[in-house]
Symmetry: C2
Subunit: 309 residues, 2 copies
C-alpha cells in the first residue's frame, strides 16, 4: 500500500490527511485557516509535512490557481492567496516526491476515478459556488492546455445580457451561473421587472436581496423568486449545452454549494433536447468537500509512484 499526504489549499482553509492509492483516508482529516502571509503559509506546509514525512511515499497538493505543466508551481495569479504564492516551488518543501494540481482539476479526477463519473473516460466536472470552475477529462487524461491553464469553464461566453465579469470580460458563464450570478440576476430582476411588486421581498431594496432569499423564495412559491431561479437555471443549461457540443462527454458532474439546488433530471433533459452531439448524463458530484484531496492523492500516486512499483 502507498501512503500519500494530500493537502487541499484554498483561499480560506487548508485541509489535509493521508490517503492510500485508492483514495481511502488513512488518517483524520485536519483543517487550518489559510494565512495571509506567504512565509506563514510555507511554515504551515513544512509543519504538516514534518508530522507525516516518515510514514508517507509522496505529497500531493490540490490548490487554487493554475498549475504549471510540470506540476511543481502555481502559475497564474490567485488573488485569494498570499502574495508570493506563485513563486513557491513546492518541490523545495521536502525531499519526498511532490505533485501539485489545480483544485478543480483534482476534483474532476476524483469524480472520474472514484466518484460520480467512475469509468467514464470523457467527463467534465463543474463547480458551481461563489464562482464557477471546471476540470475536463478527455480520453482518460486531464485537459491541461499549453501552459496548464485550460479548463476555465467560468469564462466561456453564454447568450448573455451584457453582464461584466470579474475577469474584465463580458457575459462569462461564471457571472450568470455562480451563486453571485444568481444574486445579480435577482437584483436586476427586482429593478426592472414588475413581478417584484408582488414578491414576498417587495419591501427589500434590490441590492439587499441575496442568493439565499431566492432559494428560500422558491420554497415558498414566490413568483418573483421562481422567475429569477428559472433564469439562473436556463443560464446553467446554456453553458452545459455549449460544453456538451464541444466535448461530446459521457457525463457532466456538478459540484459546489449551488449544485444542490438543481433538479438533475430536468437539467439533463433540457441539455439533451438541444445538444447536437449525443445524450450526456448530468449528475451531482459524489466526492464532496474532500474531492480536492482525493483527486490530488490519486494523481500523485499515478504520476509519481505507480510506474515505480
Amino acid at each position: 500500500m502507498s501512503k500519500i499526504l494530500s493537502v487541499d489549499v484554498g483561499g480560506t482553509k487548508i485541509l489535509y490527511s493521508v490517503l492510500d492509492e485508492k483514495g481511502n483516508f488513512l488518517t483524520e482529516i485536519k483543517r487550518l485557516s489559510t494565512p495571509k502571509n506567504i512565509n506563514e503559509l510555507i511554515n504551515i506546509f513544512k509543519n504538516i509535512i514534518n508530522s507525516y514525512e516518515r510514514e508517507i511515499d509522496a505529497i500531493a497538493f490540490a490548490t487554487a490557481g493554475a498549475v504549471n505543466l510540470s506540476n511543481t508551481r502555481v502559475e497564474s495569479s490567485t488573488p485569494n492567496m498570499p502574495k508570493g504564492y506563485n513563486s513557491l516551488d513546492f518541490t523545495t518543501l521536502t525531499n519526498k516526491p511532490v505533485y501539485i494540481e489545480n483544485d478543480a482539476n483534482a476534483a474532476a479526477w476524483a469524480e472520474y476515478k472514484t466518484g460520480a463519473a467512475k469509468g467514464e473516460n470523457n467527463t467534465i466536472t463543474i463547480t458551481l459556488g461563489t464562482g464557477v470552475g471546471g476540470g475536463f477529462i478527455v480520453d482518460g487524461r486531464l485537459l491541461r492546455g499549453k501552459s496548464g491553464r485550460a479548463g476555465e469553464t467560468g469564462h466561456i461566453k453564454i447568450n448573455g445580457r451584457n453582464r461584466r465579469c470579474n475577469c474584465g470580460g463580458k457575459n462569462c458563464f461564471e457571472s450568470y451561473a455562480s451563486g453571485t450570478g444568481l444574486k445579480i440576476t435577482a437584483q436586476e430582476t427586482a429593478q426592472f421587472d414588475e413581478i417584484f411588486q408582488s414578491s414576498i421581498y417587495k419591501n427589500k431594496l434590490p441590492d439587499d436581496i441575496t442568493t439565499y432569499d431566492i432559494i428560500e423564495g422558491v420554497k415558498q412559491k414566490d413568483s418573483y423568486s421562481i422567475k429569477v431561479f428559472n433564469i439562473w437555471k436556463h443560464d446553467i443549461i446554456t453553458g452545459l449545452i455549449c460544453l456538451t457540443n464541444i466535448f461530446d462527454p459521457e457525463s457532466i458532474i456538478i459540484s459546489g454549494g449551488m449544485g444542490e439546488f438543481l433538479n438533475y433530471e430536468e437539467i439533463e433533459k433540457a441539455v439533451n433536447s438541444e445538444n447536437v452531439v449525443s445524450p450526456v448524463k448530468i449528475k451531482p458530484a459524489r466526492s464532496g468537500n474532500y474531492s480536492g484531496m482525493i483527486g490530488a492523492a490519486l494523481l500523485a500516486y499515478e504520476k509519481l509512484l505507480y510506474n515505480k512499483k
Copy 2:
C-alpha cells in the same frame, strides 16, 4: 514510401488523389460531383478505388458528418449527403485498410502536421464558411468525445441576440460567425438601424443584401457595411475567447472562405486582451482546399500503416 488514396467527400463534390506518408500529392487531384443517390455514390467510391487499388497501401476518407470511434462509418445525420450514407460501412468497399475521419477533424490534423500549426500540440482549427466547423488537437491527439461527435464548434453559445440556429437551438456561434451569419446580421441591421438610410445599399430590400455586398461595402468605406462587418468580427472574437479559455491552446487556425476577410493581427490582439489563460496565436490556415485529403491521408498512415513498418 507509403501510398494512400485519399478521398474528400463533401455535399457537393468529391476530391481524390494519392498521397505519401508526409502528405505530398503523388497523383493529379481529381474532382467529381457528389450524386444524390447512395448507390451511385457507392459506385463512384468503388470506381475510384478500382483505379488505384493495385498501387496503394491504404484508403483514407475525409467526410462530412460525425464519424464513429472505430473510424469506419458516418454516425450522425448529414442532410447534404444521400440517404443511406450513414449505413455505409466503408471497410466493405475494399480489401485494403480503410480509415475515415470527419472533414473538419482531418483539416485540423493537416494544419497540425504540415500546416499553420505544425508542431503545436494544442491547437484548434475553425472553418468559417457557409457554416462553422472545427477540429481540436489536445496534447497531440484529436478530440473525438464519447461517440466521435466532439468538436461541434458551430454550436457553442455566444453572447447572442436571440438568433435561431439551423440546429434548432439559439445563439449558436455558427448562426453569427458564418457567412450566412454575416448576411443575417446585415439584414437585421438594415431593418433596425438608421445607419442603413445613408448606405450605398439603401435602395435594396434588407432581405436582398448578401454577404458579398458587405465585403464589397467595407472596401468602399460604406458606414453601414463597416458596422455590420464589425459586429460579425466581434461575434467571431467572442467565440475564439470562449475556446481559448477552455483549451488554453497554442494557436487557433482559421480556414474556410470567410477567413480571408479577417485581419489576423487585430483578432489575435482582441482575443488576448480578454482571455484569462495565456496568449494564443490566431493564424490563417495553410493547407487550403486540400486539407481534408491531406489530414485523412496522414491519419490513415499513422493509424493503419506506421506501426506495421
